[in-house]
Each structure stands twice: as structure tokens, then as C-alpha cells.
Symmetry: C2
DNA sequence: TCTTGAACCTCTAGGTACTGTAGCTTGTAT
DNA sequence: ATACAAGCTACAGTACCTAGAGGTTCAAGA
């Protein structure tokens, strides 16, 4: 039996966040001790790890909900899974593309900055310059669903 | 003289978002027409472009405020800006790494999923696996200040 | 067994960065 | 002169947490 604190430490998730996940229904309601404290099983730890890792990769909680639904129903037809996976793949590819452009710029920023004052520093210019951006004003922020 | 709509179109920023930026003080209060509509100069467009681009690169508005302050005082040390950029770069690289692992699995899932159930898919495992993560449970979300 | 203190509980509010809606006014083109 | 797109304010709502108040439970040491 695991406490919420153990889950917190093992996944690097704040205790409040775990309770929040329960509240919005991405984490299952756990059992309680005699005194009313949450008691978890390993499977809950797994689920939380899954959620956190997905969040770190930029999935929205809505997308995570979808993926969890997939894993909660392993007998669901492969076609369903395929549709979801394809959609996620497209988004993931788009995100990688955006992040790589970003990385290039950041690298340029840190390598070009050799002056002592901002006057000689390219960082501000780079951030003002949109030439490295894609033509479209696409938001590279996460929105997968 | 530019209208808010022009700024919106030229930078791909929602009109409300521009007004929000003004409200929180990252955009300067512009002049107004006789009827009270906002009227901007080129310098405002530049500033907004800077803000949007920085946001797209994952900087928090707080960091952007910092950078704007930096560019408003060009005699300040470049090291400050460099630190911010370096921090971003590390996070971005980590994120790309995680996403590439995920992409690989999603691709595999899409192309190889010939079974009838999700039980044979590895995607859930991939998302549960933190091996690609650094040891620390650092939040990769943007928080530079 | 008693006590202490860390860890837990609920509830509420706040934070960031927007986004949307209602209801109205302004500007411009015909 | 009129239509209507685009502007205005004000406020509510969203996603995803995070912090604090004020109280309770649990486990370990005296």
C-alpha cells in the first residue's frame, strides 16, 4: 500500500497535483485508510508515471485521457487505436519540427553571444527576427487533441 | 498608424491577446484615435513580434519582460540573457529526445499494429517508461525567472 | 501507552497565459 | 446615408496546476 507522498516522490508530482488528477478523473479514486487517507497500489503508480511522462512530452490531459482509455480497454479494436495513434503521430511530428527550429535558434543565440553588453549581443535580435519561423503563424504550443 | 487588427494579422496574435499584453504591461499603452481606438507605430509591431516569437520559443512572459528590460537597457550584461537562453536550450533538447522516442513507438504502432487488440501495442509502455528522462524529476515546462 | 511531528485531509483562492462572449461604438466603403 | 467590419470594455471561462488555511491521522520514539 502506497501513500500519496510516496507516489509524489516516485514520480516527481506534487501531492496537490495528484489530488487534482483524481478530481478531474485521470487518476482513479484510490482506496482509503481507516482514517480517510489515500492508499494506492502499484498500478496507480504506473498510471501516474504514464500521465506525468506524457505531460512532460507535451500531451494535453485530454489526449492523455484518450491514451489511458486505450490502455484501459485493451480489447478495443486495433482500428480505434490506429486512428488515435495516427493523430498523435502527426502532432508529435509537428512538435518535433517546431522544437528543432527552436533549438537551432537557441544554439545560435548562445554561441553568438560573446560580447559583454546587450548592445553586442545577438539574443535580442534573434528573438525579434522571424526569419527562422515557418511561414505560417503556427503556434508550436501543445494542442494535440 | 496601425490598428490592432493589423498588428494581429502581421504577428498572428489574437486581438484579445494584444490587449491582454497591454493590460499586464509587456506592451506599452498605445495612442488612441479620436473615437478611442488603439493606434500603433512600427516600434509596437516590433515589440509584439519580439514577444510572440519569444513565446513561441517557450519563454514565459516573465522572462520576456526580463529580456525586454534587457533590451531597454543595452548596457546591461549579456550574461543574463545568455543564462536564460542556455536554460531553454537544455530543456528543448530533452523534450526533442523524449518526443523522438515517442514518435518511433507511434510509428511502429501505426505500421505494425496488425494484431486485433491494444494489448499487443507497446505505446503505453513507452509512455510509462522514464528511461529517457533525466534522473531528476524536473519540470520541463517553461519557468525561467 | 502517550506524545510529537511529519504527512495527510478538504476547501478555497490564486497564478499564468490566454480565449470567448455580450453588448455596444467607431470607422470606412459604397 | 447606411451597412457592416472592426473596434471597444468588462467579465467569465479554460487548462493545468500551486499555495495556504485550518484541521486530522499515522508511525515512531520516550
Amino acid at each position: 500500500m502506497l501513500t500519496i507522498g510516496t507516489l509524489s516522490k516516485k514520480t516527481g508530482t506534487k501531492v496537490q497535483t495528484i489530488r487534482y488528477y483524481e478530481q478531474i478523473g485521470v487518476m482513479n479514486e484510490p482506496g482509503r485508510s481507516a482514517g480517510g487517507q489515500r492508499r494506492y497500489f502499484e498500478k496507480d503508480l504506473d498510471r501516474l508515471a504514464f500521465i506525468r511522462h506524457s505531460r512532460q512530452l507535451g500531451f494535453s490531459l485530454e489526449s492523455i485521457r484518450e491514451l489511458l482509455d486505450l490502455s484501459d480497454n485493451p480489447s478495443r479494436s486495433c482500428a480505434d487505436a490506429d486512428v488515435i495513434a495516427r493523430r498523435q503521430l502527426t502532432q508529435v511530428e509537428r512538435r518535433i519540427k517546431g522544437l528543432q527550429a527552436l533549438k537551432k535558434e537557441l544554439k545560435r543565440m548562445v554561441t553568438e553571444c560573446e560580447g559583454n553588453s546587450v548592445a553586442e549581443c545577438k539574443i535580442i535580435e534573434v528573438l525579434r527576427d522571424h526569419s527562422e519561423c515557418l511561414t505560417e503563424h503556427q503556434n508550436i504550443d501543445v494542442e494535440l487533441a
